[in-house]
Symmetry: C2
Subunit: 401 residues, 2 copies
């Protein structure tokens, strides 16, 4: 019998953190619980009937192919469809620029594996996506946070940070941003900031990782060009996904990268899972080929726009003075700020008592701050749950003010 397991664990394994969100899924199964904690798309949006039809067709017509191993890069038919899809935003994207991944989390893992040695620096937003933090942490990277405001990452602070890091002669590897309806804040980076971000990336010779799962889910305001579409120096790596546009259960996403970055990523994926599921790849390719995606996205937008509206109205109606929140123009999340002296960490058990859960803002901060903030999700709960949940949350906050 081995007595001391920890003697066998790698330094990376000892450094890994459980995702607070995935752990929360356990609490949220209580039937009376209203959960604003998850980041799940609404199952009402899943095009079950179309997918059933396509899945059967694929197995009937291409069973031997669909059930076999496929190329590490992904099925050509799917890479073609994705390239075509992205070319709406920037012409000339080729299938060769697309690496199909098993969800965007694998995209983050591949990028981490290819770029990060222990102690390397990644520049992230404050707050930032928890799955990004988790992936980078698993490689023991050092994260340096740059504050956001309602225009996205503050470029004055990014410049200061880059200057400071350059002086210290540390090894920076990339800047990680979620520019559209950010998870967790719901904030969209302004055009001016995007341009400035690229200027700084060129000046400091740093790749930008543009994590873009929600970009197509805009239901208000004007679209801002994607960072990669503004890039003239081939320095942007994009993460896209089917999880929020079609459904997560196929586990399909992609990395779009300049050709010269692809090779190492493909080799990394070889060692990670050989290839993503051929069967689900062919389903997604056929779904796109039939031209069903735009209509599908339209219906998701309509549903989420309504849910967001219900949430904004409930917040307006129930929240006490001193509480503020973002008004995202798309995506799945709102960001709530309590008065500075309050702590969403401390309030958390009381929220559970009151039958409502959120994710503590501190979980999204690489510097442990954000104690007075929380992320709440409006895509998954029903409109009734949103109204009732916000009411419970507001009551609990009022009582603890």
């Amino acid at each position: 019998m081995i007595k001391d397991l920890s003697a066998f664990y790698s330094k990376n394994a000892l450094n890994m953190k459980r995702s607070e969100i995935r752990e929360l899924l356990k609490v949220t199964r209580r039937p009376d619980m209203i959960s604003f904690a998850g980041g799940l798309p609404s199952p009402d949006t899943f095009p079950v009937k179309d997918l059933e039809d396509i899945a059967c067709q694929i197995l009937r017509q291409k069973g031997a192919m669909a059930l076999q191993y496929g190329p590490t890069e992904g099925e050509w038919a799917l890479r073609e469809e994705i390239a075509k899809w992205i070319s709406r935003e920037k012409p000339g994207i080729k299938p060769e620029n697309i690496l199909v991944t098993s969800g965007s989390q694998q995209g983050l893992d591949i990028i981490s594996k290819v770029f990060l040695d222990p102690k390397d620096t990644v520049i992230v937003e404050l707050p930032t996506y928890i799955g990004g933090l988790q992936a980078f942490t698993a490689y023991r990277a050092k994260m340096v946070g740059v504050l956001q405001d309602e225009q996205g990452m503050r470029m004055d602070l990014l410049e200061k940070t880059l200057t400071r890091l350059a002086k210290r002669n540390k090894k920076q590897k990339f800047i990680y941003v979620v520019p559209d309806f950010q998870n967790p804040s719901g904030v969209t980076m302004s055009l001016e900031r995007r341009k400035r971000l690229l200027e700084l990336a060129y000046e400091y010779e740093l790749p930008v990782v543009e994590d873009s799962p929600y970009r197509d889910l805009r239901f208000a305001g004007e679209s801002v060009p994607a960072i990669f579409s503004l890039d003239k120096e081939n320095q942007v790596i994009v993460l896209g996904t089917f999880s929020k546009l079609l459904c997560p259960g196929l586990r399909l996403a992609w990395i779009m990268a300049p050709a010269e970055w692809m090779d190492r990523m493909v080799v990394a994926k070889q060692s990670m899972d050989l290839c993503s599921p051929t069967f689900t790849q062919l389903i997604a390719a056929e779904y796109m080929k039939r031209g069903l995606l735009p209509k599908q996205i339209e219906s998701i937008r309509r549903l989420y726009a309504r849910k967001r509206q219900v949430m904004l109205e409930a917040l307006q109606k129930y929240m006490p003075k001193g509480v503020a929140w973002t008004k995202p123009e798309g995506g799945l999340f709102l960001w709530v700020k309590l008065p500075k002296r309050m702590s969403t960490d401390d309030l958390f058990p009381k929220a559970i008592e009151n039958g409502v859960v959120y994710v503590k803002g501190s979980a999204f901060h690489c510097n442990g701050k954000g104690q007075n903030t929380m992320r709440i999700n409006f895509s998954y709960p029903s409109e009734q749950q949103i109204e009732e949940g916000i009411k419970r949350l507001a009551k609990m906050i009022k009582e603890n003010m």
Copy 2:
């Protein structure tokens, strides 16, 4: 524009190797080419009709669940079925001991991530599975090889190796073996060796990783107990997969481990891909629940037994004196040894010219040896191709003797 990409790559990325086998897939698409190089199961064995029926049922009855995110550990229904399946070999395996993975390659990646720091030692067979080498190499582990003979890994040499390493005070992390119809050699480890392996693992306090993709594909001889079923100290981690029993295109496999090892593996998988595809997991669970797997395995066994027979007879008929090969009692591969002074690396271009490909034995050797060996696969090519391919191979070998 970033000038020096390599300045951004992690040490791990710079150390990674492309799989020779996956690269070979490109050559093997030539229509006249007979490939013994791949490790693909025969698509003739895929139960397309059953899977179509099940896929449609799943989407009709559980669409919302099948298309949503699932738990990192895997769908409970599938973990139950896998645990029940494995309990045939050792009673008392629980769903809690099962972590569903996105193919066995991900199992290898998880184990590597959880256990391996750069320069840590993994003890492997000579030769050993290339995907294992690739996974361990991606974490810059040091591999120490122990020669096989027709009984499997030589325990006298393993003992010597362990003693030597213990003296040097190096950090050994685990012993990696493929005990049944090994990839690449086709050799099965004898019962005596399995027992001795466990004794040594206990004595030197090392976990054993039992990679077992082919175990159920025995078509001759007597079954030897699985190493984990002989283990009394909870020191064996098992990798199992649906890729060779059902089909690879669902990308489903599992890690079975003692409860105390599970936690870090689950956290590692969270950071890697959140969860394996819910849709394909539910398909596999239902397939097992309907009791279809034993019959399916029976039909694979029959097909591969016949193909192996054709290959053995062709080898007997065409190969010149001085060439030897293994006679595996199951699995997908044969191992061919040419006279010592010949090199399968050097012969490789000539083989391609002659319209036949194999995998060079050196690719399976962590010490770069095995130049006179090759792996040939009998599961994928047709019986006619096997006969014709061996004829071409034998002719080419004869000409170069």
